[in-house]
């Protein structure tokens, strides 16, 4: 299994996907940092925005604001999902799956290899975005007279949850990709769900928010924030298990379909 993961890592590394994904992640992160610094201080705390030197602009200083800055790349979870989708559907798009199945004829093993590499890639993406936040967000913070050490202080509260969530989304991506091996279909369905359908479902069905993947992942993100369930969500380990379950159920269905599928 280690050999398969190493092989998968090389497969990923020798395509443009990591580079492109990193670039997209960095641009996204820069935008998100910008949003934080440009946003008006709404619910920052009882003190409101009146205390700021530059009226109308926020310099993060409360615990929550600093955590938001450290975790500014959190929205990148959608990229982790796409990484998972890509790392399996690329094989079908370029028909490299024939060779992969000759090397690994047991198809569930092939899917497990993809799950493992996707988890690694998800963690990697989370780390890149955390570093980008520390660097980009930190520099901007210092330039605005904020405290970098106060920001770094919040890293242990944010990083583990973010890393966990990115890995979980990457796993889910592999699961979706193993069922929908058509790359375009898998991407459209994934984005369609997380950008549009999930929101509609949550607004229509009472209590659905804790069960949908984003709700489960949000709960999982509370790993080290020491908070219990908020917004009617599960606690972190329940959310983690639910997300894991979604990924693995799809991956199992995908493995069964793939095992029966003729590669012609």
């Amino acid at each position: 299994m280690i050999a398969i993961v190493r092989s998968e890592w090389l497969k990923m590394r020798t395509t443009a996907v990591p580079l492109v994904m990193t670039l997209i992640a960095l641009v996204l992160n820069a935008l998100l940092i910008l949003v934080i610094f440009l946003s008006h201080d709404g619910g920052g705390g009882p003190g409101g925005g009146s205390a700021f030197v530059s009226p109308g602009y926020t310099v993060p200083h409360t615990t929550q604001q600093l955590r938001n800055l450290v975790g500014s790349g959190f929205q990148g979870y959608i990229l982790a999902l796409l990484l998972g989708v890509l790392c399996i559907t690329t094989e079908f798009r370029h028909k490299t799956v024939t060779t992969s199945f000759l090397v690994t004829p047991r198809r569930p093993v092939f899917v497990v290899g993809k799950l493992l590499i996707a988890a690694v890639l998800g963690v990697g993406l989370a780390v890149i975005m955390l570093l980008a936040s520390l660097l980009g967000g930190g520099l901007t913070l210092v330039a605005r007279g904020g405290s970098f050490s106060a920001m770094v202080h919040q890293l242990p509260a944010v990083a583990p949850g973010m890393i966990l969530v990115f890995a979980l989304f990457a796993l889910l991506g592999v699961g979706i990709g193993s069922v929908l091996t058509n790359q375009v279909a898998a991407i459209v369905v994934s984005l369609g769900w997380f950008i549009i359908l999930e929101g509609i479902l949550v607004s229509l069905v009472h209590g659905a928010e804790r069960w949908v993947p984003t709700g489960a992942a949000t709960a999982a993100a509370n790993l080290t924030r020491g908070r219990g369930a908020d917004f009617g969500l599960f606690n972190w380990w329940q959310g983690t298990l639910l997300m894991l379950l979604y990924g693995l159920v799809f991956a199992t269905i995908g493995s069964i379909i793939l095992t029966k599928r003729d590669i012609t």
């Binding site: 090389l10 020798t14 443009a16 690994t104 004829p105 003729d262």
Partner: protein, 321 residues
């Protein structure tokens, strides 16, 4: 002689279509077996069932008694070059081989060895998207050879190769057999294979038509011998022929064909009768003729052909043309 590959009563149904219909044959180690049949006769499906890529509707397809999926590290035992296999266009040739080598637990040193073997060392660091069809075919072959397998399965391997490439491939295949490896190579052209193969498995419409040696097939082709003679003294020749029990037919104003005649017989005969000859041709049915008649004129009800017994009726050269 042990069988490297055994296909036994193999079936594949795609819906109502019987792509492979009760096919049985064996491939011996140390020999090159040509897997021959027209396009759409089930060759590719059979090879993909052997390799576990296509599910089996019935029967077995095994390597030394084991299914492909049951072989530990299969590409170290069975190497395959298949049609419609592809590469990631952005990946370099060497990296492609490395991903396979790492995944299969093959030393990385084999990557450069196989690149060298197939003549791709110079382009090892080029992206595969820039490769010609022939280069892709060579890279596929390199992939198949990475694990130094004792069994090779090649599906129409000469597609896309230039004449030098085809010649190189033939030499390569012969070499593989000479070191004891089993090679199963499919083609829809017997003529392409006749310099390469030892044995032939001929299929048509998913069924076995004949499994035999190339030598035996050549004998079949050779049985339809005749002499074609052009002479300005046609009348004298026919008169001489009519005096002996031999069949002949006139095919042109100055040309006739003597059935079953050999040069060893006809040369002295012509000299004895002092007949002037312009042309003397020993005619024999080509292997391709036999192949075509076997695959097109195939009659499922003919038990002689099914069993592949040498005593089967000699097919008509030329077949239905």
């Amino acid at each position: 002689m042990t069988s490297a590959i055994e296909v036994h009563e193999l079936y594949k149904h795609f819906g109502p279509v019987r792509a492979v219909d009760g096919l049985s044959f064996e491939v011996a180690a140390g020999r090159v077996t040509g897997f021959l049949g027209p396009n759409g006769s089930g060759k590719t499906t059979t090879l993909r069932m052997l390799l576990g890529l296509v599910s089996v509707s019935g029967g077995t397809a095994t390597f030394g008694g084991r299914r492909y999926v049951d072989i530990e590290k299969p590409i170290q035992h069975v190497g395959a070059v298949l049609e419609a296999t592809s590469f990631h266009p952005g990946r370099r040739a060497r990296d492609h081989l490395k991903t396979v080598a790492i995944g299969a637990g093959i030393p990385i040193s084999r990557v450069d060895e196989t690149l060298d073997l197939v003549g791709l060392s110079d382009v090892a660091r080029r992206r595969v998207g820039k490769f010609s069809l022939g280069m892709r075919q060579r890279l596929q072959l390199a992939t198949a050879l990475l694990g130094d397998p004792e069994i090779l399965i090649l599906d129409e391997p000469s597609n896309g190769l230039d004449p030098q490439g085809i010649q190189w491939l033939r030499t390569f295949i012969r070499h593989q057999a000479s070191i004891g490896h089993a090679v199963l190579v499919s083609s829809h052209l017997l003529s392409e294979m006749e310099e390469t193969v030892d044995d032939v498995v001929i299929v048509s419409e998913g069924k076995l038509v004949l499994q035999t040696t190339l030598a035996e097939l050549a004998t079949r082709a050779g049985t339809s011998t005749g002499m074609r003679i052009s002479t300005p003294e046609l009348a004298r020749l026919t008169a001489a022929l009519d005096a002996i029990p031999v069949g002949w037919r006139q095919v042109a104003p100055d040309t006739l064909v003597i059935d079953g005649a050999t040069p060893e017989w006809f040369g002295p005969f012509a000299a004895q009768h002092q007949i002037v000859l312009y042309e003397l041709v020993h005619e024999r049915g080509s292997l391709e003729d036999v192949f075509l008649s076997l695959t097109h004129g195939y009659d499922a009800a003919d038990p002689h052909l099914m069993g592949g017994t040498p005593s089967g009726p000699a097919p008509t050269p030329g077949g239905p043309s």
